[in-house]
């Protein structure tokens, strides 16, 4: 029971806190422009161009391709393109971790699906007669192997690199080592817990029990694993590992936001709203707040 609660609670908090963070960033005050080219939605993206390459640009329609923006975004999400282009050696290990996490997310969903199949009498096994069961069985196995291997390798190597690279060492705080170790520990306990049964039948059974609040006997290792994963899931969105939230804003709301302030535009509305705001704090330098003249 307790373990079921931890499972639900941690996933709930992971999603909840992440959404809350996104909400906090989204409701931050309207800011000045900081576009940086190339901007994918622009027609001139290939050479890094913008609508300012046209004369009287404000009289012409601003041609944008949201498709290109989505494609570029997907390249970043799926492949971490910027790291690949600018720092290949680091990309290998960082990508291993991230790809591993994607696999593990898929794996978790598949375990839930498989577990529910089993509960409902659909066998998920290598020798099942159900095509669906067979599919879930193999895909679960593959995502599980790859996910656990890549993510463990990635987090472990990232930790080692940070610990032994003289430059990175200077900038890494103990907390940042802790972050990586937490992920690594959650993964290693996972490998020991699930590794005995490579068909992941045991994992499916446990998942089904967790999902359906069915009491079951858990050994110390399994309890530790679920506990660590739970803590990790709650801790990630609180820490700066929540960069999956930040990254959306840095690109969409800062570097790629070049919408001009034209009459009747949404930007104009925002500016009008912002201009009526009176800040509660003010700067103290003499050219902003001249010292009061001495009384006569």
């Amino acid at each position: 029971m307790i373990l079921s609660i931890i499972a639900y609670l941690s996933i709930g908090l992971f999603v909840g806190i992440s959404v809350f963070k996104a909400y906090q960033f989204a409701k931050m005050p309207f800011h000045g422009r900081m576009d940086l080219y190339p901007v994918p939605k622009e027609k001139g993206f290939e050479h890094g161009g913008s609508y300012y390459e046209e004369t009287a640009w404000w009289t012409k329609p601003h041609e944008v391709s949201h498709m290109r923006e989505i494609v570029e975004m997907l390249k970043e999400i799926l492949f971490i393109k910027k790291l690949f282009e600018n720092q290949r050696p680091f990309w290998w290990i960082s990508y291993a971790l991230h790809l591993g996490i994607y696999f593990l997310m898929a794996w978790t969903i598949l375990l839930v699906v498989g577990g529910l199949f089993e509960v409902n009498g659909i066998s998920v096994a290598a020798n099942t007669s159900s095509i669906l069961g067979l599919l879930v069985y193999y895909v679960t196995a593959l995502t599980g192997y790859f996910g656990l291997a890549l993510a463990t390798l990635g987090s472990g190597l990232l930790f080692l690199r940070r610990a032994f690279d003289n430059t990175l060492k200077k900038y890494t705080t103990p907390q940042e080592y802790f972050n990586l170790l937490l992920i690594f520990a959650a993964l290693v306990t996972g490998i020991f817990t699930w590794g005995n049964d490579l068909s992941f039948g045991y994992a499916r059974e446990v998942t089904a029990n967790l999902v359906t609040f069915t009491p079951f006997s858990a050994n110390g290792l399994l309890t530790l694993h679920i506990f660590l994963v739970g803590i990790m899931l709650i801790y990630i969105p609180i820490s700066k590992m929540s960069h999956y939230v930040g990254k959306y804003f840095t690109f969409h709301k800062v570097l790629w936001d070049n919408n001009p302030n034209l009459k009747g535009s949404g930007v104009e509305q925002e500016i009008k709203k912002a201009s009526s705001f009176r800040p509660t704090t003010s700067w103290s330098a003499p050219h902003i707040n001249p010292p009061a003249a001495p009384e006569k």
Binding site: M28, W57, K82, T250, T280, W283
Partner: protein, 533 residues
């Protein structure tokens, strides 16, 4: 003094007389690769050490940052900095809060951005100039004073820095070792921007502590707000200058030029960096010749704030930036023009087109001169003879116009049409390197700062130039032209060429784009570019 390799962000508070000494600059390319072609870097004078903060790397970036005379002054300095630091995260800083917090919170310390920085590269990867070095110092101070985690957990979360006068002063200086070129931001996998943090440090110094380099503040924005121009050029002096230039143009080229001033019903208001009239008057003259040749209905303004497009506030003080931008916009509105065209000044481009775009609603539209000039060439409004420009030409991309505005093609299209020996630098376009004069460096000319600018900040650019002209440098009879369509970049180029004596020794020349265009005009009886005579 530390070996730069051992330098860590938390060392900023150490009591060393100077944290590091620059001694490992990357070599210059041929013909500057021979020993003795470059003067060695110098040590700060003892008087500077006593008066300013030379304890970072020996250079004086902020001439108004002077050493405290008493413990009280020292404490007050730290207190004020911390109070400003708190304010950058408050509603006093709404206009940058979101981008700032993102860049502040999320750095993964992956160091992908380091190699993108020309200052870090030029110094042979000196730790002090790594883009995240100063960001990390700032983070440590914030953690230490303003977060619960920092107060409770201290070093575990990175709050392990001593904060004293030296720490803060060095951090202020370090904010002036960054050109705010944002090249590093292009490479960050998380989209973070270390230039924002450099600028916020500059802002705390200026907006809260009242400390900013004199050329930027007292003789920059303050002077502009008072007299209308950061050059101090008054309206009568401006009109005199124009008259002089008209006479001079007639005398030199036989062209009867008349600068339209405050012309009612004009379609376009042209905004120059007023510094051009003093340092490179051939540039506004060339603009006038071209606009007349193309038959545009244009004018200059002689209104206070109407004849100087600069806005140094961009580099260090949002309050000043906004004040100037609004004053400039007001002039244009009252004038009643349909549009404004910014001439060859990069930061003025960014100030009046991008930064001020969200300061007020109901603006007069502003555009860059570059597409307009390309239109003239493309539509054959000008009769051009490219053979008049038959010498090697390369193009410098001003960061503000290119990386930060996306104006990439028009200027190269023009050069391809008018300069048969045009060649690109590597890299170029949005991936260009800063000229080393960005964010105020070009006009910061006191103490030993010019040495830092020319030999360090401009170093990678100089190598790019030498690379572009490879094989032609030694041929002294052939001029080689660096086309830099930006006043500040020209200032940096002038610094480089003078320092390395490159015009004298190798016939390396620099200037804007319009000068080259006028030089190619069929109607010109003699070369417009002086070095061709």
């Amino acid at each position: 003094m530390l070996n730069q390799r051992d330098l860590r962000p938390k060392d900023m508070g150490r009591s060393d007389e100077q944290l590091i000494k620059l001694d490992n600059l990357i070599p210059l390319l041929a013909p500057y690769d021979k020993p003795g072609m470059e003067s060695p870097l110098t040590d700060p004078k003892p008087a500077w050490k006593e008066k300013f903060c030379t304890s970072l790397d020996g250079y004086v970036g902020i001439d108004t940052l002077t050493r405290p005379k008493s413990k009280e002054e020292e404490d007050e300095f730290v207190r004020k900095f911390l109070s400003g630091l708190e304010k950058i995260f408050s509603d006093a800083n709404n206009g940058v809060l979101q981008p700032l917090l993102l860049s502040f919170e999320y750095c993964a310390k992956c160091n992908t951005c380091s190699d993108a920085c020309h200052i870090y590269s030029a110094t042979g990867n000196n730790e002090l100039y790594r883009p995240i070095f100063r960001s990390e110092v700032l983070r440590k101070i914030v953690k230490k004073y303003f977060t619960t985690s920092g107060k409770l957990l201290g070093g575990f979360v990175g709050a392990d820095i001593d904060v004293n006068w030296e720490t803060i002063a060095r951090l202020g200086e370090l904010a002036y070792r960054c050109n705010l070129c944002r090249r590093c931001a292009q490479t960050c996998p998380l989209g973070l921007d270390n230039a924002i943090l450099s600028k916020e440090i500059r802002k705390i110094f200026s907006q809260e502590m009242g400390i900013a380099p004199t050329p930027l503040h007292t003789k920059g924005t303050m002077l502009q707000i008072k007299t209308g121009s950061s050059t101090g050029l008054s309206k009568p002096a401006f009109l005199d200058t124009l008259e002089f230039l008209e006479e001079d143009t007639e005398e030199k080229f036989g062209i009867k030029l008349k600068f339209p001033v405050d012309k009612k019903g004009a379609d376009i208001l042209v905004l120059h960096n007023a510094g051009e009239f003093m340092a490179w008057p051939e540039n506004p003259v060339a603009f006038a010749i071209l606009f007349d040749a193309a038959g545009l209905n244009w004018t200059l303004s002689s209104e206070i704030m109407g004849y100087d497009s600069v806005n140094y506030g961009l580099w260090y003080d949002d309050y000043q930036a906004k004040k100037i931008a609004l004053m400039q916009m007001k002039v244009a509105k009252e004038f009643g023009v349909k549009r404004m065209v910014v001439a060859e000044c990069g930061h003025a481009h960014k100030a009046s087109i991008i930064t001020s775009d969200r300061m007020t609603s109901d603006r007069v539209p502003v555009e860059s001169c570059l597409p307009l000039l390309w239109d003239m060439v493309r539509n054959k409004q000008l009769k051009l003879d490219p053979s008049k420009n038959n010498f090697p030409v390369t193009l410098h991309d001003p960061c503000n116009i290119v990386r930060q505005m996306g104006i990439v093609e028009p200027q190269r299209n023009i050069l391809k049409a008018i300069a048969p020996q045009f060649r690109e630098m590597t890299p170029h376009g949005v991936d260009n390197y800063c000229c080393g004069g960005g964010s105020g460096f070009a006009i910061m000319n006191y103490a030993n700062f010019p040495e830092f600018r020319t030999q360090v900040a401009s170093r990678v650019k100089f190598n790019q130039i030498l690379g572009a002209f490879k094989g032609t440098m030694e041929d002294v009879s052939t001029p080689k032209y660096i086309c830099a369509p930006c006043s500040n970049c020209k200032g940096a180029m002038r610094g480089i060429l003078e320092h390395y004596d490159a015009s004298e020794k190798y016939n390396l020349q620099y200037g804007g784009l319009v000068e080259l265009m006028v030089n190619a005009l069929v109607s010109m009886k003699k070369p417009f570019l002086e070095f061709l005579e």
